[in-house]
Amino acid sequence: MSGRTAAIANVLLVSTLVVPALAALVLPLCRLVVARVVALLACLWTLAASGALLVGHHPARSAVDPWHEVDWAWVAALRLRFHIGVDGISWPLVLLTSLLVACCVFYLIFGVSGDQAEAESQRRIPLLLSLVFALQTAMLGVFMSLDVVLFFVFFELTLAPMYAVIAGWGGPHRRPAAMKFLLYTGLGSLLLAIGVLLLVSAAGTADLTQLSAPGGAGLSHYTQLAVFVLLLLAFAIKAPLWPLHTWLPDAHTQAPTVGSVLLAGVLLKLGSYGLIRLTLPVLPEAARSAAWLLGAAAVAAIVIGALVCLAQTELKRMIAYSSVGHMGFVLLGVASAAAGSEIGLQAALLGNLAHGVITSLLFFLVGSVKDRWGSTELTACVGLAARLPLLAALLCFGAVASFGLPSLAGFWGEAFSMLAAWQQVDVWWRLYATIAAVAAAIVVAYFLRALYYLSKASDHPTDVFPENVPQAPSSTTFSLKTPGGRLAEPLTAGELLAVVPLVLVTLVLGVWPGGILSLSAGAVAAIISGAS
């Protein structure tokens, strides 16, 4: 690649962080009309720049072999350098983040037409957009960091905007949910701080390319274990891994639609990405010796997530809990990878992407249901398919993709993580795979149950609307003036713009997972060979 092209690529790389950050700063000052234009330009630019980073990709020769990188001094006293780059492992997630943020922006700026939202919530949209862009900066920063201290700084940067999104725009119980999110994940990221500083102090460098050289950072066994425990706790809270998941259902349920989407679609990935990027290559010994534990926790998460979902009567909460199970599959893949399975790592990477796309799709759709019907109680959703066939069909598609129908995105990650576990000849790993397979069946069951309610025709059509629909506690989303007026309202342009790209990506990932796998193959091989 010529010097000129490289320079352009580096400008694009930096712009994926700078443009959203600037947008986040400028947006609160804008009127709604200007804010829409600014937000649209910023998210499209970032999406295009993220996509363009693919140009010049090359097979990785080591665990961290970035296609493009920028390395600037920042704070020498903390050994913190502004060192960012993308490679086959981070690029898909970078693109996913930019795509989801773009979908959220579409949803926010095209989704609300004049009479739907009150003046008050309209007025606050620029602020919400600003927080979304702040989140985007933080999340892209985490994925692109090649310096572990910088990784921590961006990891921590996700807290404040997400807290504000939940606390400012959430459902009726948003405050406790937001506080729980802040404290729980705040603890996680501060534990990460200790882990990272310990690592840097022991290894003498914060550069991820050096730290993840073959054989790890060359730490003593006990230092490795200490750092590993701290990092594992931090990432397990974020991912979230059972039994550290209890912040998730409340946060997801109370968050506004865009909050849930970014939370499930990207923020959870920070945990699994951290495990893949930091713990596996940097602390291979510790990871190997703790693989069985990680696997057990992952299987527990899968089973418990599935069982809890089966007991849910509310759609949004069910999808929130389903994340626990799905991330369980991703972590099962990571656990197998820690034990030396290349397939496991690839399954984890694919599962990450698939869950990000599919769960975001589901949250958008459930948000649409909630906007129209005021409630997402399963019993209240009876008859949805009759009234809103398109929405119901999309929900059906999302559910089917989520439980892992072959040829859709969800299938590969889950199937291959089970395969990877099975291939560890150890009897325990085979038990994990078996239990996970059984739990996968339960996942099918609870999604089908939800679909059953949605598509069920009401016995007494007149009963269904609007008296039977429970009023939303705060009538902000349910217009009282025209009772039932919104029930059958078709999807708005914003909702369609947000949803359609996700449907397409689900299909593409489902039929052509090789495209993504080939990008990360080199790095995956290097991580696994370095680990074993």
Partner: protein
């Protein structure tokens, strides 16, 4: 100054040379204070503005003279000659008042902080809610004490300077809400006088045992006589001296005066208490701990570490339960001081080479804390009517709608106190302390800091939420603010808040200069050990 005491030990009396250049900032401040007092008596028209201008000019002048005349080189005054003590130990020459890079840098910082505090006081003074003349005079006197404290190199000068710093503040606290102010000021006064008495007892015991009061000489005597029969008395004396200064710093278990005083004091005075007063207290502790007792750090360190952890824990937990803003910030300052002291607690257990790094991280934290806490107090000043104190948490309700800019500044400051990015200043402050602890191998202290930081998230998150509460008072109690805030007094305060916020933001993006300065200050302090 008082070194004749130590000289008497060697039966030598000579007149001491006075380096007036070293004392120049003190002269400027004293002159400004007297000018303020006179102006208050004789000027009637535009008095408040003249007084404020004089005070600001005085502290700016002190900063400038410190930079230009005193300079960054080392100067010393009131020196005692080398001598042989009755105990047979030879001590080198030592001076009571020294200026060097550390004193100059911190003097400049303190003077700038006082200018900011003056700007924040404009609404209070211009409404004649507090007597402007006395207010400015006392503020300058207290600053004078703080600057003198930085250069003090013997126990007695240090104690007198510390008194100079705190005495005017009792009255400043009482200038607030009439009754509560006086009650709190009385508590503050009583506790403070007792703590000074304790320090003095400790100092006299030390003098009785060692025969010297200069830090340098104390350190030499301690090194020369590693073990002796008087060790018990010596430790008792050190503990007493230190306890006295920890009172001023308001660390656990000597903290009880702080929350009440913060709550009762006018907001700018509370801001002064959290900034200048804390810097003074920290310097006093550092001078005693590092300067005089350097060789006994191994015994003192763990005690300080435990106190620091207790401070942050108790401060944060108590702050969680507060319903009044200033009181909450008072508890929070106790907690924050814990983070500042933690690295000093590690001093004893780590090697000499790391001393300056640990000191530097402690000072960096304090430096970041200074600007951030000024943002918070500044935003509070803007959000309240001139006569008001910090008010209750529920009074913050609706501020987001009423005055979004003030609210943004407040949230910015709170995020900084919590250590959350995007206020990187707060994040780096936490990181530098954690780094120094981990490099020194004190993982358990790092874990304690982290757990406390999580509680801190809840403390400041709660205040942030209060800003967005939609209370019934939102429309009913549009206090006089809305009409008064636009007026001139608030313009200066708002400019000050803006300046401090921008400083915080810039320090977050470019923290290197602060780290460098703190490192140099720490190294020049650490030379006391050599």
């Amino acid at each position: 100054m008082w070194s004749s005491l130590s000289l008497s030990a060697s039966d030598q009396v000579s007149s001491q040379a006075i380096d007036h250049a070293a004392l120049m900032p003190l002269y400027v401040l004293a002159g400004a204070a007297i000018a303020v007092l006179l102006a208050d008596l004789f000027v009637t028209r535009g008095r408040v503005w003249l007084l404020l201008g004089l005070s600001a000019a005085g502290s700016t002048g002190a900063a400038v003279t410190a930079l230009l005349i005193t300079g960054t080189g080392s100067r010393s005054s009131f020196c005692a000659a080398a001598a042989r003590l009755r105990s047979g130990v030879d001590v080198s020459a030592a001076c009571s008042y020294v200026t060097n890079y550390a004193t100059t840098a911190v003097t400049v910082v303190l003077c700038v902080v006082v200018v900011v505090v003056l700007a924040l006081s404009v609404p209070l003074l211009s409404k004649e809610s507090a007597p402007a003349g006395e207010y400015c005079f006392l503020l300058l006197c207290s600053l004078l004490g703080a600057v003198a404290l930085l250069g003090a190199r013997d126990l007695l000068t240090l104690i007198v300077a510390t008194e100079g710093l705190t005495l005017p503040v009792y009255v400043l606290v009482a200038l607030g809400q009439a009754r509560r102010g006086i009650a709190s000021a009385t508590t503050f006064f009583t506790v403070s006088v007792v703590s000074t008495a304790i320090s003095l007892v400790g100092a006299s015991l030390l003098y009785a045992v060692l025969g010297v009061v200069h830090f340098e000489q104390i350190s030499q005597v301690l090194t020369a006589r590693p073990a002796s029969a008087e060790m018990g008395v010596l430790y008792a004396a050190m503990t007493l001296v230190l306890a006295g200064f920890l009172f001023k710093l308001a660390t656990v278990p000597f903290h009880s005066w702080a929350p009440g005083s913060y709550d009762a004091a006018p907001l700018p005075v509370a801001a002064y208490l959290t900034t200048v007063s804390k810097v003074g207290g920290l310097f006093a502790v550092l001078l005693v701990v590092v300067g005089a007792m350097g060789d006994r750090l191994a015994q003192l360190g763990p005690v300080l570490a435990v106190l620091a952890v207790a401070s942050m824990t108790l401060g944060n937990l108590a702050a969680l339960r507060q319903h009044r803003v200033s009181r909450l910030l008072g508890w929070s300052s106790i907690a924050q001081l814990g983070y500042v002291l933690v690295p000093i607690g590690v001093l004893g257990v780590s090697g000499r080479g790391e001393v300056s790094q640990l000191l530097a991280s402690s000072m960096s934290y304090l430096g970041f804390y200074l600007v951030i806490t000024l943002v918070v107090f500044g935003a509070l000043v803007l959000s309240r009517a001139p006569r008001d104190d910090g008010g209750a948490l529920v009074d913050l309700a609706g501020i987001a709608v009423r005055s979004p800019w003030t609210c943004a500044a407040l949230l910015f400051g709170l995020a900084g106190l919590a250590g959350l990015p995007p206020v990187f200043a707060g994040t780096f402050a936490k990181l530098i302390v954690l780094r120094s602890l981990i490099d020194a191998g004190a993982i358990w202290l790092a874990v304690a800091v982290v757990l406390n930081a999580v509680v801190g998230l809840a403390v400041y998150g709660r205040v942030a939420l209060a800003c967005f509460a939609s209370s019934v008072a939102e429309t009913a109690s549009l206090p006089p603010c809305s009409s008064q805030r636009r007026r001139a007094p608030y313009v200066l305060a708002a400019a000050a808040v803006l300046a401090v916020s921008v400083t915080t933001a810039v320090l977050g993006l470019v923290p290197e200069p602060l780290f460098d300065i703190c490192h140099r200050v720490a190294s020049s302090l650490a030379t006391l050990l050599m």
